[in-house]
């Protein structure tokens, strides 16, 4: 099976073609440098993302506080994480790094605040 990707290792944005045999990478082509190969392999075997969003705050100077997954999570879990944040409301004060949800959506990763709200 062949998977087509755009490399994001640099602005060149090479069109990558990753040849797969089951879940094993056979070859990466279309890259102009070694970083493209590394990106291509990771992106098809274990793509991950940091998810950033907001949750409501009560009794604070702002009505919203920005949050993120403390580490990257599997790409396929993005919408599970987003759903878990729906209707969450936390009381002020909030400090950067405070855990908003522990082990969000079974990823083993915490949702933490990224802004101070007094």
């Amino acid at each position: 099976m062949e998977i087509k990707l755009t490399c994001i290792a640099c602005p060149m944005g090479c069109p990558l073609s990753v040849e797969m045999d089951g879940d094993k990478v056979v070859s990466v082509t279309g890259n102009t440098c070694p970083r493209g190969k590394v990106y291509g392999e990771k992106e098809v075997t274990n793509p991950t993302r940091i998810v950033t969003s907001t949750v409501k705050v009560s009794g604070g100077e702002s009505v919203m506080v920005s949050v993120k997954t403390k580490n990257d999570i599997p790409k396929g879990k993005i919408f599970d994480v987003v759903k878990a944040l729906k209707d969450v409301e936390i009381p002020a004060p909030v400090k950067i790094g405070d855990i908003v949800i522990a082990d969000v959506a079974g990823t083993g990763v915490d949702i933490v605040a990224t802004k101070n709200v007094d």
């Binding site: 994001i8 060149m12 993302r49 907001t54 990224t114």
Partner: protein
């Protein structure tokens, strides 16, 4: 009248970095004036990650990046005023500001750092025909509504312009349950960073239509839909390519304009290409003791470079306060961008006043593959760097060393250009 050594106009990333650097250079009397209710500027609404890779070697969100600099300003005990709008700056550096506590009041500054940032190009600048219904927002306005005020601008959305804020908002609106149908870009290439196209559009199956624009807006009270058409190489819509998209929201991400009303008011000379002040190696404008940095000077892609540039402006403003204007200014070297290089910041260099190393930043006018970025000292090519690709969406730089420039005492012009490999 209150007096300060350095007054900094704007408490965003540029103003904060300039203030911290000026204080560390030995100036105690500093005031930051900020019109919003908190420091940090536009970073506060940029909740996505990817900030600070160069500065902190980690990926921070916008508010986290801002807080690192806000903490520095607090720890250094730098004075700032929030909810304060600067109305005017006179050529002799009297700042007229206004807020609810003090009303209209004046501040005398010895040096000024302009750090007002930029604002978004609006619908009015685009000549889109049709009615003016509700539901048309600039991408940054929508970003503030969603991320800070907790409002959703709409449910089905089309985005015009592939600037980074538009791309980021495509993902953000998707997370909040909206359907983003398409991102249209007038140019044949995207104005945003490649990684944003992959991580904000490709990840969610949102199509990007290059060489397309909005030719009609439907809806009288509320937006009901828009018509996209393909454009030819002159940017003119091609008849027969029109396609209707039903949507209640149109976000515009069609460019940023440095916010220079105050600079113009005090007589700062402007560069028509950047829409920002013309500055020398010290980031000083044509008015002695008035410095500019960040997006008010020229629009950046990465906040890291804003902080770096602003810190230089802060140090230079501090040096000006301590040493006064440079006496016996030697003849300056003119910097020029040609053959694909649209502009350079700075525009002139006085070698005596430059730091050991000077970063010249510029943008190119098109996409060039396998090219050289070449630097000429008068007619002699002294630097040449091979680049696999350069594009208008990513700012470029050339580093000049003082040591090297001192070897060319009669140098008049430095030219930066793109050459074919």
């Amino acid at each position: 009248m209150k007096a300060y050594d350095i007054v900094i106009i704007g408490g965003g990333p540029a103003g904060l970095a300039a203030a911290a650097a000026a204080k560390r250079s030995g100036i105690d009397s500093i005031l930051i004036l900020e019109r919003d209710r908190e420091l940090g500027g536009i970073l506060n609404q940029c909740i996505h990650n990817g900030f600070g890779l160069h500065t902190f070697k980690e990926e921070l969100t916008g508010p986290e990046y801002a807080s690192r600099f806000i903490d520095q300003v607090e720890e250094l005990g730098i004075e700032y005023k929030l909810n304060t709008m600067v109305m005017d700056i006179s050529p002799n550096k009297v700042v007229t500001a206004m807020n609810r506590e003090e009303g209209l009041y004046e501040i005398q500054a010895k040096a000024i750092v302009l750090a007002m940032g930029c604002r978004e190009r609006s619908r009015g600048a685009l000549n889109i025909p049709g009615y003016r219904p509700a539901g048309i927002y600039s991408a940054g306005t929508a970003q503030r509504l969603v991320n800070m005020e907790g409002f959703m601008p709409g449910r089905t959305c089309v985005i015009l312009g592939s600037g980074d804020i538009g791309l980021i908002m495509a993902r953000r609106m998707t997370f909040e349950g909206a359907k983003v149908k398409v991102v249209a870009e007038l140019m044949p290439y995207s104005g945003g960073l490649k990684r944003n196209i992959v991580q904000c559009l490709d990840d969610y199956g949102i199509p990007l239509k290059l060489s397309h624009t909005v030719v009609d807006i439907k809806g009288k009270e509320r937006l009901e839909g828009i018509t996209l058409a393909q454009v030819d190489n002159k940017g003119k819509p091609i008849p027969g390519t029109e396609e209707f998209y039903e949507c209640d929201t149109l976000l515009l991400s069609v460019g940023l304009i440095p916010e220079n009303e105050l600079s113009n008011g005090m007589g700062v000379a402007m560069n028509p290409i950047t829409s920002g002040p013309i500055v020398n190696e010290s980031l000083e404008t044509n008015i002695e003791g008035v410095f500019a940095c960040g997006n008010v000077l020229h629009v950046h892609d990465l906040v890291d470079f804003v902080s770096e540039e602003a810190a230089a402006a802060g140090r230079n403003a501090a040096a000006y306060v301590k040493d006064g204007a440079a006496a016996n200014v030697k003849e300056v070297i003119t910097l020029k961008g040609v053959d694909g290089v649209r502009y350079t910041v700075p525009s002139t260099i006085n070698v005596d006043r430059m730091a050991d190393q000077l970063i010249v930043r510029f943008r190119v006018g098109g996409v060039y593959k396998n090219c050289y970025v070449s630097t000429y000292f008068d007619d002699e090519r002294v630097l040449r760097r091979k680049r696999p690709v350069v594009a208008p969406g990513e700012m470029e730089e050339v580093k000049l060393s003082k040591e090297q420039l001192l070897k060319y005492p009669d140098l008049k012009t430095i030219t930066i250009k793109i050459e074919e490999a």
